[in-house]
């Protein structure tokens, strides 16, 4: 068995975070939870990428680091877009509920 080195722990934690985020994305019905879950998935991927950038050699690979750096900022902006859309979904759902309620009283 391989020794549990720090980089191994980081890598496995990254994978675990990814799977946990996937569980939230698939298992939760609420949009806000889904958005948070994708964020957790992204964090897991970032952690994993940074870990494999260290690799086994002494040279640290700067390419995954650059990818993570841009990825963080892009994930912030995609989260903002998702939240703005979620607000619209909630408003539409509320309007739908209100309409249903109104129709219900008319029928009675």
């Amino acid at each position: 068995m391989t020794m549990l080195s720090p980089s191994l722990i980081y890598g496995l934690t990254g994978l675990l975070l990814f799977v946990m985020g996937l569980a939230g994305l698939l298992g939760c019905a609420e949009l806000l939870r889904k958005i948070l879950a994708t964020n957790i998935m992204a964090s897991g991927i970032f952690l994993f990428l940074i870990t494999i950038a260290h690799g086994s050699g002494t040279l640290i690979d700067p390419v995954p680091q650059a990818m993570v750096l841009t990825g963080i900022v892009v994930s912030v902006s995609s989260t903002a877009v998702a939240l703005a859309l979620a607000c619209h979904v909630q408003e539409a759902a509320r309007r739908h509920d209100l309409l249903q309620k109104k129709r219900g009283t008319v029928r009675r």
Binding site: L15, L22, S78
Partner: protein, 245 residues
Amino acid sequence: MTKGPSKTASALKRQWPLALLLVLLFTALAWAYLAPGPAAVGLAAQVDASLTASGVSSRVTAVLLNFRAYDTLLECFVIFLGVMVVWSLRPTTVTAPRQPQAGAILSSLERLLVPLMVLVAGYLLWAGSNQAGGAFQAGAILGGAGVLLLLDSSPLLARLPKGGLVWGICLGPFYFLVVAVAAMLRGRHFLEYRAPEATLAIVTLEATAAFSIGLCLATLFAGRQPQGKSRGENSAHSPAWEEDS
């Protein structure tokens, strides 16, 4: 809205196939990660070999703004596009709960921290050419400063010129595009710049990109296009669902 224990239990019972699949997925991923295989070949050696031609001495900055500048250009536009999407959506009645009166703590914190944050962002930008730091970090900190100003609905924001925001957001991505095309006008490939003039190009690119990223992040936090006061108040008083029904 809290779920009862019985409801949670039934949800767990319903979702056990998903849990099983995810456990299997994690096992497979962990196995793929831990399995002995050929040693990963990174690009560290290639980056080191051509670092002198990049115009900067920081490897990450060289990758970001020279070797893979096309990626960074696209990412600047992704952030720009995010702002455009948020702005093009109709303002909703579903927004953050009404802001409490800005307290003395928040405003004094803002007075202390915002100048410091701008200073740190400037330092990170400057440090980016030879150590850890650069446009994205500086932009993130500037964005944080903007969020702090927005939380307090600071009078500083009201004094900003209206059109300035749009210009500031466009500055980073479009300056990047101009630099990229300028290389073509000199008979080179798109985004190809080399050591002597590359340093100037990278430093100016980083400064404009950081400024725009910071503005974009703060704008995204605000959630909608800044409007005149009267229009904003009107939309707050007449929820959209009343107009429709």
